[in-house]
Amino acid sequence: MYPAAFEYHAPTSVKEALGLLGKLKDDAKLLAGGHSLIPMMKLRLAQPKHLIDLRKVAGLTGIKQDGNSLAFGAMTTHWEVESSALVKSKLAVLSEVAALIGDPAVRNRGTIGGSLAHADPAADYPAAMIALGAEMVCEGAKGRRTVKVDDWFKGLMTTAVGEEEILVEVRVPVLPASTGAAYLKFPHPASRFAVVGVAAAVTLDSKGVCSKASVGVTGAGTKAVRAKGVEAGCSGKKLDAAAIEAAASKAAEGVDVQADLQGSVEYKSHLCRVFAKRAITEAVKRAGG
């Protein structure tokens, strides 16, 4: 399990990192924790000539409240998200999601930005980011730009980040009033990645009717997607068990469900529906419904 030879760079600023990226272009990969990239390199499935490690780059870690959002430095580890008092009080669901990723070793190294830039189709964060309406802040030579989560995941392990850009921050709105959110997954018994994972955020009005539902699905297809049919099915409804079941029945629509060792199209589609139902049910409960 030895990777092919590569050159290692450890810039200390975003500017320096961008300079390296601009110079090395496709020959370089950004290292942001390394719990996906390093195993791929050891198996020689990835053989970058240069690794630009973001570990020492100033200003990429930490969680702070910025207006109505929490801002996560891209190099914030899963463990920091999981254990943060701020996250637990403002966005508890994200702390729960982080706690479901891998094992303690992974969570102490792996980062939120690394995960979202890698865009593994079975990762946990993507579904939650969709449900919570996150934004990705990318920095390039011309400065920063913000990408909405709905525009972020482009396909299998591809995102909207530019070739000479770095994802530097993830911004997640705190939950509005009367909103509950939950993420539930069916983990693969070997990898613990999500065979299917569904995140739901549900806002109830004063009469207990769903005024907004936001639902993300991960695992089943080549990328995490928003379950628009489910959201539409929830919106404006009093979400009792039957209404939730009816809404959740649309959970696999728009998902390019892939058959593989983890499951057939039929089974994964079914799990999308089951976990959508469960996530919405829990979210409604948490919203006070």
Binding site: M1, A5, P189, A190, Y267, L271, V274
Partner: protein, 799 residues
């Protein structure tokens, strides 16, 4: 031999003496070895399941910086095929047994064709591991891909791609045991017969430490030392020297230092250690290789892989009249060292189970396929037998409408000690199957469970219970018998006891500990027997340079065979010590007793000499018996008179989640009878680990090959699901104790019981859980959530 009364340390849960070094990172494994001038090997392996080799171009690899040599099979002139150590054709005089075997060549580096993904075709040896791996990528192989067959049932069908010229139709052997005519007659007269297809899927052993070797040839002396992850270093040495490389056995020392698990996969002689040994002789430099986990999945011998049609004949009142079993066993691409024995003499001979059965007949066809070779894996044949019996017995009970527990109880062989002759050649040593069963039912509170299940079913919950009344055969022996079955080796064990002048003791055992805790268990025996503190005892194993020829550890044989060999040597030490003590005490040797670490004159209190004084006298023989040799060191070889047959009763309670098919184990109960127990904590650990592995097979594990490409789809821990602690319940365990009359300690063997017993208990429980939906059988494992969900979807009662 008389039964030894358990005394001081026998039966005590002494903490494992080897653990401090393991848990503080101070174990010494093969890969830890650093030698001057070391070179590193990397293997070029077939990416195809089946492909002819047109040409191998090594020039670019040879030019890579740091590369010392690149070899292909054509360079290894004078090197023979890896041997098959169990030739069924040589089996003779076993009533009812019919056999033959196609022995096919298995060259260390294949030159004509690759027959499974991972088959090695070249080796690059370099000054660094990195250089070896980089250069291996530069070896150009001109492949001609051929159609492949990986599926067990298809391998011997007409039109299947052929693997070996010497094995027409991919048939390695056809083998039979039992009485065909009597079985046919039993089925004709039966009130009820039930036939089911039962698949025992392919597994990967997954020892924590991957295989590794370091070979060092010393030109000045002609000595070769091979450090290798081996469960049986003497067997490794013999097979490699005598059969493959043709080098003098006395010039080769094989050392298996700390070894991190084996589960059988480290019994066998593999390509890599042979190639590294050969290359070290050729290059006159040490050569090292350590498998990656990917290589482990592709090349460690796999386990199981049976497709069986099992059929049971029952009387109306639930008596088992007959059992008919037809099995196809997938042996993989080549014959691994003991492969032919596993689905035959370690399988068919166990089909009598714990039951009185009217007649049994079993036919096995061993087939070659484009998959990794299959050989012994924890339990080896016995789990497959237990699985077939315990599944078909429950299917039979359901067919009759009889309670599964009641049907078993009706058919248990009554309590016996000495011999119970089965229909399938072997004779059991001792058993009290009903006692273990009753204890398990009592712990379970069976009636209460059925009431709870009834209530749960009314709420739509899918709650089920499954049982397994197993028997296992361990410490296979005597050598004369295994020779008659076709084994190329004996199955005795060696034990040497060296008493040092100060009374300290070093024991050299032919058994090998790779997780079993011999350094503790054997030391308990020695300390007890000699009446000395356990701290004065050291156990040495795994080195052909110091240990007398031994057979190693597998088949739960270490305590019963290896331990008894040590005990025999201890008895010799004491007998000699009595002569020395008698001389010192001016008494007759016949008047000397030995106990509590002292030699005493019978009936003369105070006339005693401690063990240490006797040992010192043996080495400083100034005042010494006339004609007695100095020294206090004894060696024994123990060849048991029979196998030992542990047994027990397991039960599993599951709940199936209807919506997802996910199976959750609510309770797991195990009552095992492994005879007398030397260290209960170590036995508990073996039982726990064994159950985990068996539950793993039932619910999650399975080597999956792509049916078209022949690629191993489950080639990593990300895909092959080993059980994790949070997937398992707290076990409820107990033991009954039925000592074996075979050996003086009355110990049977505990290493494999859990893997043998648990798969049918779990699967039977899931079948029971799904019974309200009309499910009466499940053909294949593992019972992944999807598989169970699909069964639920297809069940007539589900809608």
């Amino acid at each position: 031999m008389a039964t030894v009364a358990p005394d001081r340390l026998f039966g005590k849960s002494i903490k494992r003496r080897e653990d401090p070094r393991f848990i503080t990172g101070q174990g010494r494994y093969v890969d830890d070895l650093k030698l001057p001038g070391m070179t590193y090997a990397a293997f070029v392996r077939s990416p195809h399941a089946h492909a002819r080799i047109r040409k191998i171009d090594t020039a670019a690899a040879a030019r890579h910086p740091g590369v010392v040599a690149v070899f292909t099979g054509k360079d290894m002139t004078g090197v023979n095929s890896l041997p098959c150590g169990w030739d069924l054709r040589k089996a003779k005089n076993i009533p009812g047994v019919v056999q033959d075997l196609a022995i096919v060549p298995h060259m260390p580096l294949t030159s004509d064709a690759a027959r499974h993904v991972g088959d090695p075709v070249a080796v690059v040896i370099a000054d660094s591991q990195e250089a070896a791996i980089d250069a291996a990528e530069k070896v150009q192989v001109d492949w001609e891909p051929l159609p492949a067959v990986t599926v067990t049932e298809r391998a011997a069908q007409s039109g299947a791609p052929q693997l070996h010229a010497d094995a027409p139709g991919n048939v390695a052997f056809k083998w039979e045991i039992g009485d065909r005519n009597a079985t046919d007659a039993a089925f004709k007269g039966a009130a009820m017969t039930v036939k089911k297809r039962i698949v025992n899927q392919r597994l990967v052993a997954n020892a924590m430490e991957p295989r590794a070797c370091v070979a060092r040839y010393e030109d000045a002396t002609g000595d070769l030392t091979l450090w290798v992850t081996s469960q049986n270093p003497h067997v490794h040495r013999l097979l490699m020297c005598a059969f493959v490389l043709g080098i003098p056995e006395h010039k080769v020392r094989v050392i298996a230092p700390d070894v991190g698990g084996g589960f059988g996969s480290k019994i066998f002689l593999y390509n890599e250690e042979v190639i590294c040994s050969w290359a070290s002789r050729r290059l006159k430099r040490p050569v090292r290789w350590t498998a990656t986990r990917r290589e482990a999945y592709l090349t460690d011998a796999h386990g199981r892989d049976h497709v069986t049609d099992a059929e049971i004949a029952l009387s109306r009142d639930g008596k088992i009249l007959g059992l008919r079993v037809k099995t196809t066993a997938n042996l993989g691409a080549y014959l691994s060292t003991f492969a032919p024995a596993v689905p035959t003499f370690l399988y068919g001979t166990l089909l009598n189970g714990v039951y009185t059965i009217g007649a049994i007949h079993c036919e096995v066809t061993g087939v070659f396929s484009n998959t990794t070779a299959v050989d012994a894996y924890r339990g080896a044949g016995r789990p497959e037998a237990c699985y077939a019996i315990e599944r078909i017995v429950e299917a039979g009970a359901r067919g009759l409408g009889m309670d599964v527990a009641e049907l078993r109880k009706k058919n248990f062989i009554p309590k016996f000690s000495g011999a119970y002759q089965t229909h399938v050649a072997v004779s059991y040593d001792s058993g009290d199957y009903g006692a273990a069963w009753d204890r398990m039912l009592q712990m379970l509170d069976y009636k209460k469970f059925r009431a709870e299940q009834e209530a749960a079913r009314k709420q739509g919950r899918l709650l089920g219970i499954g049982f397994s009344a197993y028997i296992e055969a361990c410490s296979i022996a005597p050598s004369k018998l295994v020779g008659a079955l076709g084994a190329g080796a004996g199955l005795y064990e060696s034990g040497k006891v060296r008493v040092h002048p100060t009374g300290m003791v070093t024991v050299f055992t032919g058994s090998h500990s790779h997780g079993q805790g011999h350094e503790t268990t054997f030391a308990q025996l020695v300390a007890d027997k000699l009446g000395i503190p356990i701290e004065q005892v050291d156990i040495v194993h795994g080195d052909t340079g110091s240990v007398a020829f031994g057979m190693g550890t597998y088949g739960s044989r270490s305590a019963s065979v290896g331990g008894t060999a040590i005990l025999m040597s201890l008895n010799k030490v004491i007998e000699k010590g009595k002569k020395i003590a008698a001389h010192l005490l001016e008494a007759s040797p016949g008047d000397i007793d030995f106990s509590g670490g002292e030699f005493r004159v019978k009936g003369a209190p105070g006339k005693a000499v401690p063990f240490g004084a006797v040992s010192l006298t043996a080495y400083v023989p100034h005042n010494y018996p006339e004609g007695l040799e100095p020294g206090l060191e004894e060696t024994s070889f123990y060849d048991p008179s029979n196998f030992c047959f542990p047994f027990g009763a397991h039960a599993c309670v599951v709940e199936v989640e209807r919506e997802t098919g996910n199976v959750r184990i609510l309770r797991y109960l195990a009552v095992d009878d492994v005879g007398n127990v030397i260290n209960p904590m170590i036995v508990d650990g073996m039982v726990h680990g064994g159950i985990a592995q068996g539950v793993g097979q039932a619910l999650w594990e399975g080597a999956v090959y792509d049916g078209q490409s022949g690629q191993l789809m489950t080639g990593s821990m990300m895909d092959y699901a080993l059980p994790k602690a949070d997937m398992l319940p707290m076990y409820e365990t107990d033991r009954t104790v039925t000592p074996t009359p075979v050996n003086p300690m009355g110990v049977k063997g505990a290493g494999e019981t859990g893997t043998i017993a648990s798969p049918p208990a779990v699967v039977n429980a899931v079948v029971d859980a799904l019974a309200p939906l009309g499910v009466d059988h499940i053909e294949a494992m593992p019972l992944t959530a999807e598989r169970v969900w699909k069964i639920i979807q297809g069940a007539k009662g589900a809608r």
